[in-house]
Amino acid sequence: MKKKILATLLSASMVMGIVACGSTETATTTEGGDTQAATETTAEAATATEATSAEATAEAGAGMDSWEPFAETVSIKIPVYDRGDNGNGCSDVENNYWTKWVQENFGDKYNVNISYVGITRSDVMTDYAMLAAGQDLPTVCMEYDYDKLATWESDGYLQPYSLDEFAQIAPTYYQSMVDSGNINYTKFEGDDYLVLGFRPYGNTTYTFGTFYRQDWLEEAGFTEYPQTTTELLELYAKLVENGHEHPAGGTKVSGAGIDQNYGFRDYPQDEITWCTTGDYQIPALSTEAQKRFLKLENELYNDGYKNPEYYLRDASEAISDFVNGQSFTWSGYISSTMDTLVALYDNEPNAKLGLIVNSGKFTQDETWGSNNSYRPGSNIGMMIGFSNSATADQMKAAMMYLEWLSQPENLFTMTWGIEGVNFNYNEAGDPVAVGDQSGLAEQQGHNNNVDYWCAVTAVKTLGSIEKDIAAIAPQGLPQDFTADILANYNGQVALYNAGYANSDCMFAQALESVTEYNQTLYDLYAEYRDKLTMCPKEEFDALYDELSQKYLDAGYQAVIDERKQLLDDGLATHLQ
C-alpha cells in the first residue's frame, strides 16, 4: 500500500514537477517557474527552437493501454554510463539483475529484446564515435550536454521523430515534457530530434557535495568552514602546521568540466562574456574568472598545500588520500550508498566530517575575487535522440521503453529496488535505501540505478525537497548529513533567486568552431593550466597573458566569435 501511495506521489511529482507546495517548495516553484519562463522566452528568441507548436499539434494518446506486442521480436539498445572506478554499485552495467528485470517486465511483455550498451562516463564522445563507425549506435543516444546532442545531429547520428507519434505512444513522458517546459527544446533546425528528461530542482546542485574533515578544522581553531578564499588559505596554513601534509590534495585534470570558474566570476554577469565564455565545455582560459581560479591553484601549489605530484595522480588516488586521512576534502555525488565515506569511517573511526554549505548570501573575496556561486542547471535532465539507423519499429519500441520507465511503479522499483533488500521504509513511510548493497544479487547500479532511470528524471524525487534529500542522505554512517544537504540546497536557491547564479547559455544549432577546436583546446588547456599552476608566483600574470594569447589563437577566439554571432542572430538563450 505504502508503495502504491509513494508511486502515485512519485508520478505526481515527476509529471507536475515544479508545481509543489509548502515553504521550501515555494522556493522551488518560484525558481522552477523562473527557469521555465526563461526557457520559453529564450525559445521565442531562438528561431530554430520554434517552441510550442508541439503542444498545439500533439495530443497525448492512450499510451500503454493501446500497446500490442510486436509481431516479430524487435531489438533495441539502450546506452548506460559505465563509471568504472568512480562509480558505486554493481560492476557489470550491461548485464545484471536490473537489466534482466527490465527485460522480464517490459521486453518479454511486448516482444522487445533490450540490451544495454556501456558508455564510458568520462569519454562519451569517443565511445559514441566508435559505435557510429561500427554502424552500431544504440537505438537512442543520450547525454546531459546539449552541445553533444547538437554535434551528433550535425554529424548525422540522429534522425528526427514525430512528436505526435511520441505523444500517442508515450503520453506520460510527453506530458512531463509539456509540464516542465522542456517541450520547447525538442528541435534542431526545425525538426523534432530530442525527447527530454526532467531535472527536478534543476537550478541547484544539491546532489553534489564537498565533505571536509570537521575534526581537522576544529583542531585548527576554526568554528566553521571558511566563507572566503582568504580564510581558506589561513586554514590550510594551520592544517600544515598541525602536521597535515598537502591538505588540498589534488589530481590531474580529467575532463573539461573539472576547472569550473563559476565561483570566480563577477556578478551580475556581463551577457556577452557569459554567452561566449561562460560554459565549462571549453575551459575559459583568457578570461578574468579563469585567471582567478588558476591563480589560486598556483598559490595552493607554491605554498605546499597541494600535492606537488598532483599532475601524475588520478581520481582514485584522491579518494585514497581522503579515505586514508591524508586530505582535507573530498567532493562527489551524494547518495544513500557512499562507499568513500564508509571507507573513511572504517579507517578512521574518530573522524568527524562536515559538508560545505552554501550560506545563500553572496560573498566575494576582496583579494581573490572568488565567491560562493555555482553552476545551476535547468529543468532539462537527460537529452535523448533516436539513432539514424533505428527502424520505425525500433523507434517505437524505444518510445515504449521510455513510457514504461515513466510509469510510477516501474520508476519506483528501478529507483529503490526491492523492499527489505534494497530499501526499507522509515517511520514517515518514505523509502530509505540500504547503504551497503555489495554482495547482493539485486545490487543496484551507481547511485540507486541512476544511469538507468536518468532517461526519465535526473534525480529521484518523492514530491518534496525534504523527502528527496532524506532519501539521498548517506546511510550506514555514524553522522547524519540530511540537515546540511538541505541547508546547502536552500542556500543555493537563495543565491539563484538573487541572481548570483545563472544557467549556461544554450545555442540553437551546433557550433562549427566548437566541433573543430574542442579537442585541441582541451589538450592545450590541460597543458597550460599545469604550467600556470606550477610556475613561480611572480611569473603567473605574464605567463597567463602569454598562454591566453596562444589559446585564443589556437581556436578559442573562433569559438568566442561564433557564439557572439549566434547571440546577435537570436540563436542563443539570454542571460536571465
Binding site: Q135, V253, D530
Partner: protein
C-alpha cells in the same frame, strides 16, 4: 608458378604447380590461414582509405558523405599540432632505432656466449618477460618507480645521500625522453633478441672450431663469425624498423603521459587518437594514417635498394 624446362645434369629441378600442390597440399593449406588474415585485415581495409578524401561522417556512411579531394590533407599539413606530432614522431622513432636497435643484437651475442645453460635460460626468460607486460602495467610501475618526490628510485637516491632533490624522470621533458627511450629498450630488447639467437644457431659450428684452432679468442669469433653470420637478419630487421619510423605506439605514449612533457609526448598516435578517432573525425585519422604508411613504404623501398647496392639480399 611457371613450368620450367631447366634441367641440370639430367635431373629435373623444378616442378609444375599442380604437382607441387599435390605433393605439399597440407603446407599450402596451412599457408592459407595467414594469407586469409592478411587479405581480410590488411587489404580488406583498403576500400576504407577513401575516407581520407571525404568528409566522412560514420553515421551517414560513404554514400552520404561528401568528397573533399585533398582538403583533409591540406588542413592537416597546416595544423600546428600535426607538425609538432610529426616532428616528435620522427625524432623519437629515430632515437628509438639508434638506442633500441643495437640492444637486441648485443644481448643476443652476450646470451650466445653464456655457457652455463641454466643461467642462460633463466636470463632469457627474465629478459623476455617485459614484452608480455601491457603498457598500462609498465606505466604504473614507471610511476611508482620514477615519481619526482615519492618514486622509489628517487627516495632511495635521496636516502642514500646521492641527490638532494628528486630527479624529474617523468616530469621534465628531456629526462622524460631518456626514461621513455630506456623503458622502451627494456621492454623490447629481450624479445627482439630471439630472432638473432635463432639466426646465430644457424651458423655452421665448424667455423667456430676452425677459428679456435687458428687461435681466435671469444671476442674475435664474435666479431668475425657471429656478426657476419647474422648480418642478413640484421639488415632485414633494420629495413623493417625503418618502415616504422613514422609510426608510434599509442599505448606506450599514453602510459607515460603527463601534461609536463606534452612537448615531446605529443606524437602522431596521440594526434590521430585525440583529434581523429576520439572526436569522430575519421577522415583526419585515415589521412594521417595513410600519410604514415606511404612514408613508411617509401623508407622501406629506399633502404631495401641501398641494402641491395651494398650486396645484401634486402627484403623485397
Amino acid at each position: 608458378m611457371k613450368k620450367s624446362n631447366t634441367k641440370s645434369m639430367g635431373v629435373k629441378t623444378t616442378t609444375s604447380w599442380k604437382n607441387a600442390l599435390k605433393r605439399d597440399w597440407q603446407l599450402y593449406l596451412l599457408l592459407l590461414i595467414p594469407l586469409i588474415l592478411v587479405f581480410v585485415f590488411s587489404y580488406g581495409a583498403y576500400p576504407g582509405l577513401r575516407m581520407a578524401f571525404m568528409d566522412y561522417k560514420p553515421a551517414k556512411g560513404y554514400a552520404g558523405s561528401k568528397w573533399v579531394g585533398f582538403g583533409t590533407f591540406q588542413k592537416i599539413f597546416k595544423d600546428a599540432d600535426f607538425i609538432r606530432a610529426l616532428r616528435n614522431s620522427i625524432v623519437f622513432n629515430i632515437s628509438d632505432l639508434l638506442v633500441g636497435f643495437p640492444m637486441p643484437i648485443i644481448l643476443a651475442l652476450i646470451l650466445n656466449e653464456l655457457r652455463f645453460q641454466k643461467f642462460k635460460k633463466v636470463s632469457q626468460t627474465i629478459l623476455y618477460l617485459p614484452h608480455f607486460l601491457s603498457w598500462a602495467i609498465i606505466g604504473s610501475v614507471a610511476l611508482t618507480m620514477f615519481k619526482p618526490a615519492s618514486g622509489l628510485v628517487n627516495i632511495a637516491l635521496m636516502n642514500g645521500g646521492f641527490i638532494q632533490e628528486g630527479i624529474p624522470f617523468l616530469n621534465e621533458k628531456w629526462h622524460w625522453a631518456v626514461t621513455y627511450l630506456l623503458i622502451g629498450v627494456w621492454q623490447g630488447m629481450g624479445w627482439g633478441s630471439i630472432l638473432y639467437l635463432a639466426a646465430i644457431t644457424g651458423i655452421n659450428g665448424e667455423l667456430y672450431e676452425a677459428a679456435m684452432i687458428d687461435g681466435a679468442n671469444r671476442w674475435q669469433r664474435m666479431w668475425h663469425i657471429t656478426l657476419p653470420g647474422i648480418r642478413s637478419t640484421i639488415v632485414t630487421l633494420l629495413i623493417m624498423n625503418l618502415g616504422r619510423v613514422m609510426g608510434s605506439n599509442l599505448e606506450r605514449l599514453t602510459a607515460l603521459e603527463n601534461t609536463q612533457v606534452k612537448d615531446f609526448q605529443y606524437q602522431l598516435a596521440v594526434y590521430i587518437y585525440n583529434k581523429g578517432l576520439g572526436t569522430g573525425k575519421f577522415s583526419m585519422a585515415t589521412a594521417v594514417g595513410l600519410f604514415q604508411s606511404l612514408i613508411g613504404l617509401f623508407l622501406v623501398l629506399i633502404s631495401d635498394r641501398i641494402a641491395k647496392k651494398l650486396g645484401e639480399d634486402g627484403l623485397l
